[in-house]
């Protein structure tokens, strides 16, 4: 295995790492069984770039990504491409939630003047990088959320944070291998070494939910935070269905089609975390034995983690296997503190409504921000907003509404709501359907039109079902015993689909056919009337019926 060229290769990289001390690469996998019969596998690849180079040069992070960040003066960037729907009430909360389709949001530096122009350039550049139709992001589907989204990185902005934020989502965007290929190319080890070698597109697209993401932010270097580093985090979230892999026992071979060849030689730490909390109720056995086990007490909920430390001098493929002792068992899980549901109301092609049901399962009130983002062709009016069926509600603590403009700006509504304990709050808002111009209909207009998901941002008082990393942490070890007074989370509801009044596109053809028939039918008699002369015949004696018949025969004989 230790061939000479491999050693030189490794030494070369080792020296490179040594030369650029600030840059660091880590890779992690987090695996958690989800009720009722699913498995959550979350990959994160973190590259930290030293700021000394002014982000122009790095040995580990992709050059063009740094160029994008510095040329467009982006402070923080989040891009996710997702297929499938995360079921929050069943599965609990993901580490990072993502809206179905493509979602892009970014904060620009405080000194950027023409943010909208930079935003347009940024989205079209990223569209080329990730093979996604992000160039469809225009002013008519971009908003700047006022309350729901906050920068996760260290920022100098104290006021006007939201004015430098742009957010857009493309719910129709498809996600497939062509998005994963360029994503993998951004990793320092590529797709052949390290954890990324597990990302076999045929296996990961055979899941209930898959989401790839790239999150770039600035993190504090030291406690005083006078110097920062750039953190590039690439994530893949997968939810496997045991029904699709035909057994509840899982292994790397079953999930990814192959074992793990070892860590990326460039990574400073490669760890696999398996959440074995459910082992107490629904026992399974892991093999090989984990390197160590950690018990984390966070906000009143205990999490037990099995940790595997992977190094890159493995001689054989590593295959982590989990075998359940009992074949199948239904586990009843505590539902997370805030759950939600969203659906479209109405019938016909004139009016409709969007309903968002927010349930607080906790014993104390929870404050949330609800962001509704309706495209211009689905006008929502603030006057029709009803909370639990009433127009006036003391649950709303703050609200922001920005009306849309036809073909220029979407409708944007944000509500800061206090959800009463152990109750469901229903937020309803009506919309009306708009006729599009003939050329504005997509080729498959009868498929329906997608509405992006709403964003729910909450400050949870409990860490139940909460797996997100604390804001100051980059890696998974930061969640251990990370008790905080609040656990912030940003969630996305399911999207929705409406069918706009769609014309019959073959109508012009039909009209031509019908009009021509009518003209032809009318033309014949009219032409006869106009061209044929009516001649008066002398009125003779009345002809009897018998005479008439004989006359006909006479004519024939003639």
């Amino acid at each position: 295995m230790w061939r000479p060229e491999f050693i030189t290769f490794f030494l070369l990289f080792a020296t490179l790492i040594h030369l650029n001390k600030g840059d660091e690469f880590r890779e992690e996998i987090f695996i958690k069984p989800l009720p009722p019969s699913h498995l959550y596998v979350y990959f994160q690849f973190i590259t930290v770039v030293d700021e000394d180079s002014n982000y122009k040069h790095s040995h580990l992070a992709p050059q063009f990504l740094l160029e994008i960040m510095s040329n467009y003066q982006v402070d923080e960037l989040h891009l996710t491409l997702t297929e499938g729907q995360w079921k929050h009430s069943q599965w609990g909360y993901p580490i990072l939630d993502a809206a179905p389709g493509a979602e892009l949001y970014a904060w620009f530096a405080p000194d950027v003047v023409d943010i909208d122009n930079q935003w347009k350039k940024l989205s079209s550049t990223l569209s080329g990088l990730f093979c996604a139709s992000l160039n469809f992001i225009e002013s008519f589907n971009t908003i700047s959320p006022k309350m729901a989204l906050w920068p996760t990185g260290a920022t100098t902005m104290k006021q006007n944070v939201t004015s430098h934020l742009r957010y857009a989502s493309l719910p129709r965007e498809i996600v497939c291998t062509e998005n994963l290929t360029p994503w993998k190319k951004l990793l320092p080890c590529g797709s052949n070494h390290g954890f990324a070698s597990l990302l076999n597109s045929r296996m990961i697209h055979n899941t209930n939910y898959h989401s790839i993401g790239m999150h770039v932010r600035r993190i504090c270097d030291k406690n005083d935070c006078l110097e920062t580093k750039l953190e590039v985090k690439q994530t893949v979230a997968l939810v496997y269905d045991f029904k699709i892999i035909y057994s509840s026992d899982w292994s790397f071979r079953k999930l990814f089609g192959q074992g793990l060849p070892g860590a990326c030689p460039l990574s400073s730490s490669s760890k696999i975390y398996v959440d074995i909390t459910s082992n107490n109720t629904y026992a399974f056995k892991l093999s090989p034995e984990p390197t160590n086990k950690i018990l984390s007490v966070r906000g009143g909920s205990d999490t037990e983690l099995a940790v595997y430390e992977i190094n890159n001098n493995n001689t054989e493929m590593m295959n982590i296997v989990a075998k359940y002792e009992s074949p199948y068992k239904i586990t009843v899980k505590n539902s997370p503190p805030v759950t939600f549901n969203r659906y479209v109301l109405g019938y016909g092609k004139e009016f409709g409504g969007i309903v968002t049901e927010l349930t607080n399962n906790y014993w104390a009130p929870i404050d949330i921000v609800l962001l509704e983002n309706a495209p211009w062709w689905l006008p929502i009016q603030l006057s029709t907003l009803r909370i639990n069926g009433e127009a006036e509600s003391n649950l709303i603590m703050s609200q922001y509404y920005s009306p849309g403009r036809s073909r220029q700006k979407p409708y944007h509504l944000e509500l800061l709501i206090k959800l009463p304990p152990k109750s469901t709050t229903t937020v309803t808002i009506d919309f009306e359907f708009v006729f599009l111009k003939w050329q504005e209909y997509p080729p498959d207009a009868n498929h329906g039109f997608y509405i992006g998901s709403a964003i729910i941002s909450a400050n949870l008082p409990t860490a139940k079902n909460y797996t997100s990393l604390p804001i100051t942490g980059s890696t998974f070890d930061s969640i251990v015993n990370a008790s905080k007074p609040w656990y912030p989370i940003v969630l996305r509801t399911n999207g929705a689909m409406v069918s706009l009044p769609t014309p019959d596109f073959s109508m012009p053809y039909n009209v031509i056919c019908l009009a021509c028939t009518v003209v032809a039918l009318a033309f014949g008699p009219l032409h006869n009337i106009c061209t044929k002369e009516l001649v008066l015949k002398a009125v003779g004696t009345a002809v009897s019926l018998r005479q008439k018949i004989t006359n006909i025969f006479k004519k024939k004989i003639e």
Binding site: N54, K56, E83, K120, K121, S124, T125, S127, G128, L129, C131, S133, N135, F136, M147, W150, P151, T152, G153, A154, T155, T156, V161, R172, I174, V175, C176, T177, E178, T181, P182, S191, N200, S201, R202, I204, H205, N206, R218, C220, D224, C225, L226, T228, D367, V369, M397, S398, L416, P442, P443, D444, S457, A458, N459, I471, W486, P488, V490, F505
Partner: protein, 345 residues
Amino acid sequence: MILHCQILLFVSYLLHFSLGSAIKIPEQFHKSNHTNNWAVLVDTSRFWFNYRHVANVLSIYRSVKRLGIPDSQIILMISDDMACNPRNPRPATIFNNAHEQINVYGDDVEVDYRGYEVSVENFVRLLTGRVPPDTPKSKRLLTDEGSNILIYLTGHGGDGFLKFQDSEEITSQELADALEQMWQKRRYNEIFFIIDTCQASSMYEKFYSPNILATASSLVGEDSLSHHVDSAIGVYIIDRYTYYVLEFLENVHPNSKKTMSEFLSVCPKSACLSTVGVRRDLFKRDPNKVPITDFFGSVRPVIITTDPIYIKRAPKRKNTLNVTRVPEKREYLPQFPMHLVKNTI
């Protein structure tokens, strides 16, 4: 250029009369003087029942990529997502036949234009280079006068038009004009144009720009037919013409000596059930002597020089980024509008 050719012809006539032998076209005419290879591969049809068109275009994509054209020089346009379509029982794959012989989708595909982006406007803009200023490099055809371009179109068409996305169409005249504009802008050296659609040859009949070799899966008045149904997906899996083209290209290697005329006779009428049309009159070289890798690969003549080349020392770039940064105090913000919550309490 024309004058130059006439002189050469004149010289060859002189040779003919003086030596009394048959006319021999000088060797230079057969040698391609292209410097780079590009491919524009377009699938124009949407909806699941057009799975076969995606399989068609990916078959060519697979072949040109295997023969050496890099992904950065292949513009792949696919109108709909078949690989990750919920109806596909084998996610992230597209096969060329029902026996799952070749996964033409592969593991490292890069689609440059997809979904609604595949439109007549974008296609013509791509060819003529009139793209919006912010267009990324992967969505531009950055060809020059030394580029050999392979253009492959597949979809549903009729006499003189090709449908895009089932909602708009490009006419043969528009396509011919776009190619003429490319020629006038010196955007190509030679073009090999392939089209697999019904009445396909009608699409190249209007071409009037030089150095174009064109082939079509069927003549005017004929339908191009599909190869076979895959019962797992419930629709036709590939078209006949492209099926045999892929079969042929699978046996081509970057250093193989196969010629374009072999490619042009790849699908006889007994196999295709339609007559493959070829238009040679705009193309100056003899297809019998043009290696197939002139269009499908990226094989370039390499001249090894033994003489050292002295490069002038480039002036060192001044480090203008000598700005001393004033350390700014940064901080993590609360992830929730706490100030608004407190006000109400």
